[in-house]
């Protein structure tokens, strides 16, 4: 039944917070090594979808299959064990630990290999972090913390990376750095699911765009088939006037 090419299959997923339903039957299939961007207006449920994939919401129904195995309702740790890594929206680092220690915590579940080397790699990637490595993460500027969180995600050695708005608070230069790293991961065979409001950057980097609105997928196509004017319409009305929906 499970398609072997499909790495992640989301089947009629319903999820929310407590009694509150946010996702009303989301269907989405992501192939191995694909770079998908998830777009949508504010409050569409994008973050909720990523959280659900990482086991941090109340699961209400439907299936999430990862390499053919149903992982719906597992705890976040188990998700990490399956190679799923998640960068949430907003601040998510250890404010009272140094940058160095934060990076160490990022590799918490990984007990083998060259952790020092990997840390040096992310320091090369974001030199600003190396300069401040012994400072408390909570004292960094907003953008610096955002970079730190991206670096932490890289250190988790994901097979699939779920990132929620990584460009928020970053200077144009830093955004380029981050997207380059995402592209590099993608080239290295990892799967990426990116949520972005910076639609231009996202569509440049990704192969496929999925639009979510009011807890449902309303669009799913390669990025080429979608212009920014279309996007505007999709966000506003949920429809693209010019043609029928391929989703």
């Amino acid at each position: 039944m499970a398609d072997t090419h499909m790495e992640l299959e989301i089947d009629n997923l319903r999820a929310g917070y407590g009694h509150l339903d946010i996702l009303h039957g989301v269907n989405l299939k992501i192939r191995h090594g694909e770079f998908v961007t998830l777009l949508g207006p504010n409050g569409a449920g994008k973050s909720t979808l990523l959280k659900s994939l990482f086991g941090m919401t109340t699961h209400k129904g439907g299936a999430i299959r990862w390499k053919g195995k149903d992982i719906a309702g597992l705890r976040p740790q188990a998700m990490l064990g399956h190679g799923i890594a998640y960068v949430p929206q907003g601040r998510c680092n250890f404010q009272l630990m140094t940058i160095d220690e934060n990076l160490e915590m990022a590799a918490y579940t990984i007990r083998d290999g060259d952790l020092k080397g990997e840390r040096e790699y992310v320091y090369d990637l974001f030199p600003i972090l190396r300069k401040r490595r012994n400072e408390l993460a909570g004292n960094m500027s907003g953008g610096e913390q955002q970079l730190l969180e991206m670096a932490m995600a890289v250190l988790r050695r994901p097979e699939i990376l779920l990132v929620d708005e990584p460009s928020v608070g970053l200077s144009p230069q830093a955004i380029t750095l981050v997207f380059n790293e995402l592209k590099r991961l993608h080239k290295g065979g990892r799967t990426v699911l990116l949520v972005e409001q910076n639609t231009r950057k996202a569509m440049e980097a990704a192969e496929r765009a999925v639009v979510l609105r009011l807890g449902k997928v309303i669009w799913d196509s390669p990025v080429g088939e979608l212009s920014s004017a279309d996007l505007g319409e999709l966000f506003m009305t949920g429809r693209r006037a010019s043609d029928a929906q391929p989703a």
């Binding site: 409050g43 953008g143 610096e144 970079l147 708005e165 966000f235």
Partner: protein
Amino acid sequence: MQPDVMLRIEGLRKNYGAVAALQGVDIDVRRGEVMGLIGPNGSGKSTLFDCCTGLQKSDAGRVLLKGVDITTWPMNRIAREGRFLRSFQKTVVFPTLDSEENLVLAGQMSRFPSVLSTFWVGPAAQRRVKALRERARELIEVSGLSRVAHLPAGNMSGGQQKLLQFASMLMPEPELILLDEPLAGINPILIEKVIQCIEHANRVLGVTFVVIEHNTDVLMNLSHRVVVLHQGTKLADDTPEAVVRNPEVVEAYLGG
């Protein structure tokens, strides 16, 4: 001193241990303008806001609001008496209050003469609150939050909270607003609306704005003047067009 200076920042310095976040910054914000503030990550933009509004004590320098030295004023006095508000880069709302209450609260302090008068629930107070509620509902409508207005703000999505935070800046109708990345995480359509709001407030109500924003396309369109910070010093202070062409700024911030 010229009469049209709304906020004057003189030689502001702030060190965190070895980190010099601000190394003597001088900026004049003119009455009625929208000033953009850009700079690479960690260049001291947010720290500048913090020092102007009393959240952080500066090590040296002065902050003058309409000619009055407010360097040592506490935050609440700056907001209330100075009619000078700021938003935070990290999205913060009152999580257990719904949108309307969030907004009413934001507008409330400027409407009551004293702290003690807020304890009294007489008809006058009720009228004031009613007016505030009406204004709040308008703003909720404008910022597209009506669908989630009944939720405690802490249960709204990241972008919705950011919008609410922006709306609460407009509630008390201040004279000067500092916005720290108001557009981060807002979807393109709502960005338009936020811009419209800023422009409306600026043109019609005469509110002065200082906006930190990394979305340079939008910012350059919006602002009359742009100041660039780099490593705690002022790198440029010019019209948007000139700033974009300034090679130093391109090198330090915009990227090749």
